[in-house]
Symmetry: C2
Subunit: 199 residues, 2 copies
Amino acid sequence: MPDSHRDSGRINRRDLIIETATRLFSEQGYTATSVRQIAELVGCTEAALYYHFKDGKRALLQAVLECEMPKLTSIINGSENATSLQAAMKSIAMQMDVVGPERMAKMRWILGEFHRLSDEEKALFHESHLRMHHIIAQVLRPFVDSDEYASRLAWIFFAAGFGYGLLFWNLEMQDVANFSLHEFMETLIPLLVSRQPTP
Amino acid sequence: MPDSHRDSGRINRRDLIIETATRLFSEQGYTATSVRQIAELVGCTEAALYYHFKDGKRALLQAVLECEMPKLTSIINGSENATSLQAAMKSIAMQMDVVGPERMAKMRWILGEFHRLSDEEKALFHESHLRMHHIIAQVLRPFVDSDEYASRLAWIFFAAGFGYGLLFWNLEMQDVANFSLHEFMETLIPLLVSRQPTP
DNA sequence: GTCTATATTCGGATAGAC
DNA sequence: GTCTATCCGAATATAGAC
């Protein structure tokens, strides 16, 4: 990977292309987005785009997938020093609200495109989500009896938050049902902290 | 809508087209699927397809969306006469396992395509999911103190199951993490039944 | 209802000049 | 690195014969 330096305050063209492609793929889907359209929005020609991504559209997809997968874990900021299970979960839930529509759009897109990705591309997400789960489990660990239970609780919390986001933000259920993320978490978290390992 | 009768055991061609389109849209996405390909699989020409759907591909999408939205609620079969909150949830969870990859694939596809649908098309799903939530809430209602709490619990249960399905089946986390739907529910349900309205 | 044939537009991709 | 010009295949859609 070549150094992606900035020249005089503007990000270089290659990065701009990736950025633009990410937006368009997320909004329209991979196949529905044409190289032509990306080039237009970037402000260059298709030929220029093929200079940066020799293998064409597919290489661009690759780059988009590899890019900005990192800060998924930033969701946990500040949760490390929570003093109770309840506080830890609340802290994570707060961060979830900040994820915002931008990242959610990309998530939604990948969800739809996932089964068509190659094994290597899939592995990227598996790794990223496992890391995410692992960090949540670590944050919860001090307040439960076993690693095993921390892991389960982390999956449940992850899945519930994920499901809420998709139902209410992605499928726009918020337009027809009154249940804010805050209310959701206010109801869920007390339930999740109510018990230790299997009764 | 004209009568979709069968002629001598075979479903009529219009229905066959919808069925085929549903499969292809789910697998490849709307834009990635060509009218040509649908016609080939159906075993007719594009022209024949345009006879059945005068407004072309978009009309086909419409038909696919309107079709088979019903039996979402069949998930609740047998849960009506549960004798405890725990039993009711378990019963619903069991049915979820039966939904199978076919419906899940369509769900996944719609999730990705949703934000590009028209308001009328979106309304179809809002209605369907609200009905789903409402039925779950009704099943849970006898075992909790208020309609309000039944509603919240139903959303949580819905979102958690939804999130599990997408994470483990759709994003194929089952390949890299050991957490079966059974284990998930075995852990979640006891937590959800542990308390009544806000403490 | 279904076909053949065709119009037309748009897609990804490349060659070669600058 | 970026452009102009171009190739070619595939897409949606329609006309008109049977």
